[in-house]
Symmetry: C2
Subunit: 298 residues, 2 copies
């Protein structure tokens, strides 16, 4: 349902599972289900897992053997999450290494409703390729675009990690009616980076995502993994931002945590009326956003 159609209380409790995956996918699924139980017990109605929660962050290296970690959607993990959603009558967002066809794999996210139905799917559109984050090797660029999906607890947009640096992704998802943007993530520091550099990176990461909340008047939930895996120390620090970019809740940088926060969705309308940015976009002048670069001649 969209904003104008919603009736009843406008506040929705979200639960963000900031975890530190172990080597065994079976064990990580078990931990995720336990985390969902706990978040649901604490009243969360929308529960989001971190990016690729089922495995260690395998894109640290390029190795074809990792393709066997992929699975179809729907598949065993979707089904396990659907059962948990049905059990607790909650909405669940899971991030899954999707096997679509031989040679076509995606970094995908699924949205499961409280009846256990698959309400939506997203395939990561922006893929990093940087030392330690070799995602362009594993994942085919997403082809489902930027969408959002109706749930009984609000209209949800899913974006994944690297997408968080692109204002276009947040904007398009918000324009499709999203009230909350979720960013399952796996971002951390490379070995040997100084405390100053670390702080700078984490600050920019938080800042750019909070800016999407401001620009679009939506809630933003970033759900990051935590802990050391190989050469990367994932920085956790999952957070929820309100529609003017204010921090509602924030997890620490060191430990597994279930971050619970209440999102009053009526703040979306209120913020957008006070700061009517969506009224004033110059859509007549944005055509060149589909250009790679506007090479300067002078």
């Amino acid at each position: 349902m969209n904003q104008s159609q919603r009736t009843g209380p406008s506040s929705v409790r979200v639960g963000l599972l900031q975890m530190s995956p172990e080597p065994s996918p079976a064990r990580n699924l078990q931990k995720a289900l336990q985390g969902i139980d706990e978040a649901a017990r604490r009243g969360a109605k929308i529960i989001c897992l971190e990016e690729l929660f089922l495995t260690r962050y395998f894109p640290q290296t390029e190795a074809a053997r990792h393709f066997k970690l992929a699975e179809p959607i729907p598949g065993p993990t979707t089904r396990a999450l659907a059962e948990a959603a049905r059990k607790h009558k909650v909405v669940i967002l899971g991030s899954i290494f999707e096997k679509r066809a031989g040679g076509i794999y995606h970094n995908s996210a699924v949205l499961i409703g409280p009846e256990g139905k698959l309400l939506g799917k997203y395939r990561k559109m922006h893929l990093p390729d940087d030392p330690g984050f070799y995602e362009k090797f594993y994942f085919t660029p997403g082809d489902l675009g930027f969408q959002s999906f109706s749930t009984p607890h609000g209209r949800i947009g899913m974006l994944v990690c690297w997408d968080q640096w692109f204002p276009e992704a947040a904007r398009l998802t918000a324009l499709s009616g999203a009230e909350i943007l979720f960013y399952p993530s796996a971002i951390g520091w490379a070995a040997g980076e100084s405390p100053k550099v670390r702080k700078r990176q984490q600050s920019a990461w938080e800042l750019i995502q909070r800016s999407h909340a401001v620009a679009n008047g939506v809630f933003v939930c970033a759900v990051n993994r935590v802990g050391r895996e190989g050469k990367i120390k994932f920085w956790g620090s999952s957070f929820v931002a309100d529609p003017f970019g204010g921090l509602v809740a924030k997890a620490g940088p060191e430990r597994e945590e279930i971050l619970i926060a209440d999102c009053d969705l009526s703040k979306i309308r209120q913020t957008r009326e006070d700061w009517p940015f969506l009224r004033d976009r110059r859509i007549d002048a944005y055509g060149a956003l589909t250009s790679r670069f506007l090479d300067p001649r002078t």
Copy 2:
């Protein structure tokens, strides 16, 4: 010249004039010229004035008599700034209430080179209309698009105040090759707003502009007026952000100030290589950014 062509030292000193205009435009021009003298004396090579520096912030009310404050470009103010630019061999950005034709006025910015030539002009694209900020009454929406202009001290993009809330404006200006985005501004608190609301507004204002630095790997300079005028207390707090959103320098919220900062333009290339967002934009999937809203059907 663009980045690859520049030779010599890559650091450029900017000077931001955070002023509190008095009722007399002649007096404000005199103060601006004194400020330019002082900034140049302190080594600034690019000097930026705040939005509509020549006058009090007249859009607090809608009154046709204020149209007489407008002037053509080039006109007396452009000429006075050009003389100052030539005198000090500096680049100057001035914000001017432009009279284009009877009934067509713009909130414009001019870029003047060290020889006193008009290098570029910008007409504010996004116009606010909110209590105390009735700009849609005075200004015709800009029709020059989002551009940047080459100067001996870097390639400069000009945007004005309300533009700062729109990631599209920063993106397009950066894609045109801008290395530094300047935002002459006039933003403040309405009477009666609580300290908590004030802090929230100012934080969001700083955050969204720093996010443009992050998303685009450019320097961002925000130049705001300061002091009380009628029912608005302008919050100053002009700042310079580096290409990963870090604060280089920041002025206070209470007083007139000349904020001096060094921008090492080589950090642009370096930041963009470390964080290659411009490499990964999904230009095949951004077409709907020219839509007003993507009305959800489900």
